[in-house]
């Protein structure tokens, strides 16, 4: 029975949704050596609603722009291509799963709120020590993407998983018990299918086990910490009931030899950032 269900999963997962065209285009354009703001703006022109959401996020106080940006071209110039690429990725993948999800086992808007909380937290934590947390933000948005996939492709099993876990069993243990695979692994399969960068694949695959990261350990550690910070500040609602232990090495990557106020300051920044972007994204809309 177990074996059959494993085969079944892999078969069903071979049928994963394809990557949104606009993201494919965006990846293609931005990987070209002479890519300019105009090139990216041209891609964005094909999806007005994506662009509108992206501009709302870019104009939220979290990004601290002194003047409002109102075109994709301006957004690229002011925020940089990398930020725009990662925002476009985040916003468009949210769109894919919003329209497809049956949300049998959880509220999809709550789920995205948790992912947004993780994204904002992971970026803030990462930037305590490193520059350019844009891909960490996108990694936070996508870290639980495997849950969305399971919800769509294995609604029956995922419902069983949700009935099983609780005080004595973690969500990941329940996933292993029922389907022998975790949402992190399922997310990794999607990341491969969609040809995400290796760093992104690791952020999704190892967000519960940051020590396994090889290519992007600091990014993965930031996602791992951001996930628990989002839960502890109740930013959105993860379907995990408890804050899980943060890996000590991951924690020490960012919070050793820091002032006592660094942690509370970071949490304040995260709370503000989350509130601002949540408003801009209008997740229930």
């Amino acid at each position: 029975m177990e074996e059959k269900s494993l085969d079944d999963i892999l078969k069903r997962l071979s049928d994963l949704p394809s990557m949104p065209t606009i993201v494919q285009e965006m990846f293609k354009v931005t990987s070209m050596p002479n890519c300019t703001s105009k090139d990216v703006a041209r891609v964005l022109e094909n999806d007005q609603s994506l662009t509108a959401r992206l501009l709302r996020v870019a104009n939220s106080p979290f990004y601290g722009l002194s003047r409002k940006v109102d075109t994709g071209d301006r957004a690229c110039t002011v925020l940089g291509l990398n930020t725009v690429k990662n925002l476009a990725l985040s916003v468009s993948v949210m769109g894919v799963f919003k329209s497809r999800s049956r949300a049998a086992t959880f509220d999809i808007a709550d789920m995205w709120r948790h992912s947004l909380g993780c994204a904002v937290a992971a970026k803030a934590v990462f930037e305590l020590r490193y520059k350019g947390g844009e891909n960490v933000f996108a990694g936070g948005i996508l870290h639980d993407i495997g849950k969305m996939v399971l919800d769509i492709y294995m609604p029956k099993e995922y419902k069983e998983i949700h009935e099983l876990y609780g005080k004595d069993m973690s969500l990941v243990d329940a996933e292993m018990y029922i389907i022998g695979r975790t949402h992190a692994l399922v997310g990794r399969l999607l990341a491969r299918k969609w040809k995400f960068t290796e760093a992104m694949e690791e952020m999704i695959a190892f967000h519960h086990k940051p020590a396994l990261a090889k290519v992007a350990p600091a990014q993965v550690a930031a996602i791992h910490i951001g996930n628990e910070i989002a839960k502890s500040l109740s930013l959105g609602k993860s379907n995990e009931l408890f804050v899980m232990p943060i890996d000590e090495d991951a924690w020490n990557m960012f919070f050793t030899n820091t002032k006592e106020s660094t942690l509370t300051d970071t949490l304040e920044v995260i709370w503000d950032g989350y509130t601002q972007i949540e408003e801009a994204l209008d997740l229930d809309g």
């Binding site: 910070i229 839960k231 502890s232 009931l241 899980m244 000590e248 020490n252 942690l263 300051d265 949490l267």
Partner: protein, 107 residues
């Protein structure tokens, strides 16, 4: 309503008007409770004064440091169940404490 220099505002005071940067962008909304973090952010934006609600309106409780301590310990109680599995780890305790501090200033 009172105009107070930013270096004299206290955690727990409430804004009587939106605080805008010179370009008109809202940094803090009217009625927000000032926290350490918010005050530090305003410093970063070079804000020098803030319009604060009269303390009488707040019956003096909001800026009472003892009130803040009490709210923090209430928050600690509320956080206990979700931190149940990790409370023995020193760095998780540190996180729980910081979360309680931030929530006490805001909720």
């Amino acid at each position: 309503m009172k105009k107070i220099a930013l270096n004299e505002v206290m955690v727990g005071m409430k804004t009587a008007r939106d605080v805008n940067n010179p370009r008109g962008m809202v940094l803090v909304k009217k009625g927000a409770t000032l926290t350490e973090g918010v005050i530090r952010q305003l410093e970063r934006y070079d804000i020098t004064t803030v319009l604060i609600e009269d303390i009488e309106d707040e019956k003096g409780t909001e800026i009472d440091p003892k009130g803040l301590e009490k709210r923090k310990s209430e928050q600690m109680e509320q956080l206990k169940p979700i931190f149940a599995k990790v409370a023995t780890l020193p760095w998780m305790k540190q996180l729980m404490d910081a979360v309680a501090t931030v929530r006490a200033g805001r909720l």
